[in-house]
C-alpha cells in the first residue's frame, strides 16, 4: 500500500522539487523590489472578458485611491494584457502603470507572488538539505549500531532516544539563539541545514538500526561474516534493505523541516527580512490588525500547508508509520 502510494505521490513531490528549483527564475520581480504607492495593494484580478467580449487574459492597472486608508481600485480604462515568455519572464505586463501583483503586495510594497517563488527555493532548499544531512548521519549511525550491536549500539541509541524526546522546535530555538543573531543568508542556510540535520537524524537512525539488526541475523549476512567480511563490508550488503524506509523518511522529514524553517524565521532568528523565505513572509502576517485587511499576506502559510499536505498524501504521516511499526513489534 505504502509503495503504491509513494509512486502516486511522486507527482506532487516532483512538482514541489521543480518549484524549488525554478521558482526564483520564473518570478516576475526580485524578492527585494519595493514598489512606491503599493503598500498592502490587493491581488490583481486576472480578467478574461470585458465589455466587448472574451479576450486573452489581462489585468487592469491598479490605482491608489487613498494613501492613508490604503484603498485601491481597478482602473478600467487601462487594461494590460499578460505577456508570456517575454523579457526573460514567464509572465509580465507593461509596467508603466504599475507592477504586476498577482498575489498583492506586503507592507513595503513588495510583490508577494514573487517573494513566494523566491522563498520556495530557500525554504524547500533548507528543508531538503537538512533532510539529506539527517539521512547521511542517520544511516551511518543506525547502520553502525545495527551491525555492531553491543555497547556501541546501546549508547548510540540512548543518544538518539534522548534527542527524540526533546521537542525539536525548542532544541533548534536554543541552539540557534546561542549563535550570533545577524548573519548573511548563505551562512544562515548552512547553519539551519546543520541544525536540522542534527535534530532530525535520530528518526532515521532508529529505523535503519532496526532493519539492519534484523538483516544481520539472516543467513546471507552470517555467510558473509563467516567468509571474513568486516563491519563496513557487511554494511554494504545490509543497508540496501533499508532503502524503502529511507524513501519514506524523506517524505516525512521534508514537511517537518519546512515547518521548522518557517517557525525559526518567524521568530526572527532564521533568514532575515530582505531575504524572502516562507517563514520571513509569515512575519508580515504576524501584524494581527493588518492581517484582517490583507489576507494575502498568509500566502506562504497556504504554501506551507499545501506542501505538507501533498507530502502527507504521498508518504503518510509520522504517526501512521510509527503505528505500523509498533503494532507489529
Amino acid at each position: 500500500m505504502t509503495r503504491a502510494r509513494l509512486r502516486l505521490g511522486l507527482v506532487p513531490i516532483a512538482a514541489i522539487a521543480l518549484l524549488a528549483l525554478v521558482g526564483p527564475a520564473i518570478a516576475p520581480h526580485r524578492s527585494g523590489d519595493q514598489f512606491a504607492d503599493r503598500q498592502y495593494a490587493p491581488p490583481m484580478r486576472v480578467h478574461l472578458s470585458d465589455a466587448s467580449g472574451w479576450r486573452a487574459p489581462f489585468v487592469y492597472a491598479q490605482h491608489l485611491d487613498d494613501r492613508i486608508l490604503r484603498t485601491y481600485s481597478e482602473d478600467r480604462s487601462r487594461a494590460q494584457p499578460l505577456r508570456w515568455f517575454q523579457h526573460g519572464r514567464v509572465v509580465s505586463i507593461d509596467e508603466r502603470d504599475g507592477p504586476l501583483l498577482l498575489l498583492g503586495a506586503d507592507e513595503l510594497g513588495r510583490d508577494v507572488f514573487s517573494r513566494l517563488l523566491h522563498g520556495a527555493a530557500l525554504s524547500l532548499g533548507v528543508a531538503g538539505c537538512g533532510t539529506m544531512g539527517a539521512l547521511i548521519i542517520g544511516v551511518f549511525v543506525g547502520g553502525l549500531a545495527g551491525s555492531r550491536g553491543g555497547w556501541l549500539d546501546r549508547s548510540l541509541m540512548l543518544v538518539a532516544d534522548f534527542i527524540l524526546v526533546l521537542p525539536g522546535a525548542y532544541v533548534i530555538l536554543v541552539l540557534r539563539g546561542l549563535l550570533p543573531l545577524v548573519l548573511g543568508a548563505p551562512t544562515v542556510f548552512a547553519l539551519m541545514t546543520a541544525l536540522f540535520a542534527a535534530s532530525a537524524w535520530p528518526h532515521v537512525a532508529r529505523g535503519v538500526r532496526a532493519i539492519v539488526a534484523t538483516e544481520r541475523a539472516r543467513d546471507y549476512a552470517e555467510a558473509a561474516r563467516a567468509s571474513g567480511a568486516g563491519t563496513f563490508w557487511l554494511l554494504r550488503h545490509l543497508l540496501p534493505a533499508a532503502r524503502g524506509f529511507v524513501l519514506v523518511e524523506i517524505v516525512l522529514l521534508v514537511p517537518a523541516l519546512l515547518v521548522a524553517e518557517a517557525t525559526v524565521s518567524y521568530f526572527g532568528i532564521g533568514f532575515a527580512d530582505p531575504t524572502a523565505s516562507w517563514g520571513t513572509m509569515l512575519q508580515a502576517a504576524g501584524n494581527v490588525t493588518m492581517m484582517a485587511e490583507a489576507p494575502w499576506l498568509l500566502a506562504s502559510a497556504l504554501a506551507i500547508f499545501a506542501v505538507v499536505f501533498a507530502l502527507h498524501l504521498a508518504g503518510g504521516t509520522r504517526t501512521e508509520h510509527a503505528l505500523f511499526i509498533s503494532s507489529r513489534s
Binding site: L164, L166, A169, G177, Y266, V288, M291, L298, E320, L323
Partner: protein, 306 residues
Amino acid sequence: MTRGVSAFLARRLVTAIVFVLLVSSSALVLTRLVPGDATTESAFTPGGQAVRAQERARLGLDRPIAVQLGAWLAGLARFDLGTSSRFNKPVGDLLQQHAGPTAELATVALGLALVIGVPIGVLTGARPRSLLARAITPISLALVACPPLVGALVLLWLALVTGRLSVEPGRLAVPALALALPLGAMIERLQSQATGEALASPDVVATAARGVPPARLIWTHAARRSLRPVLGLFGIVIGTLFSGSLAVEWVTSWPGLGRLTYDAVVSRDVDLVAGCALAGAVLIALGNMLADLARALVDPRVREQP
C-alpha cells in the same frame, strides 16, 4: 499486579530524573561554551572592561564551567535555581509565571485533542466505508497537515474577520484550538488505524463469533486492544505538542516558556536558560511518565520492560 506497576513507575522515575538533570546541565554548559555572555554589551559602555570584569564576578561568570555547574546543581538540591541576569529576578519566580501558562495550554490542548480524536477515531476505524468516515477522513488529513504556526495565524485571521473568537493576548481559545486541531486529527488517524487493526485481530473476531453485540465489540473489546499501540506513540504526541506550543505561544503572545527561553538564550542568561530547560524537561518527563503509566495499566507486558 500493583507491585509490578509501582516497580515499573520507580524505574521510569529514575530515568525521568536523569533526563531532567541531563537536559538542564547540558543547557547550562552550552550557554557557557558559546562566545559572548550576559556582560558582553557592558564592555561598550563607559568604564568598559573594568565594569565588565566586575559584572562577570558578580554573576559568577569568572568561575570555570564545572564549578558553575556544580554550584547550580547544589542550588537545585535546595530548590534554588539562581537569579536571572536579564530580569534581575529569582529564576524560580520567573518560571512559576511562565511554565504554568505553558502547562495549562498544553493540558487543555491535549485534553481537547483526546476528547475529539479518540471517539471519532473509533467510529471511523470501525466503519471505514461509512458516510461519516468518508466525510471525516479528508478533513482529518487536512488538519494533520496544518502546522500549529500556520493554524494559529489562520485562526487569528478567522477570529478577526468573523469577530466570534477573542484575539486578546491571554485568551485561551485561539492558541488551544490551533494546537488541539492538528493534534486531535493526528490522534483520530491513529485511533482509526488502530481500531481497524484491532477489529481484524483473531481474538476480537472470535468475540464477534460468540455473538457479542457490535457496539460492545467496538467500544469495549477493540477499543481496549487499540489503546496499547496508540498510547505507545504518546512520546511523539507530547514532543509534537511542545514543539507546536512554542510557535502558538509566539503568534498569540501567550506568556509561556517559549518567549522566556528565547529571551534567556539571546541574552546569554545562564541560570535562566538552565531553568527553562529544567522546566521544559520536567513537563515532558511528566507527560511521558503519565503515558507510560497508562500503558502499564492496560498492557501487563510493558511493566516487564527495563
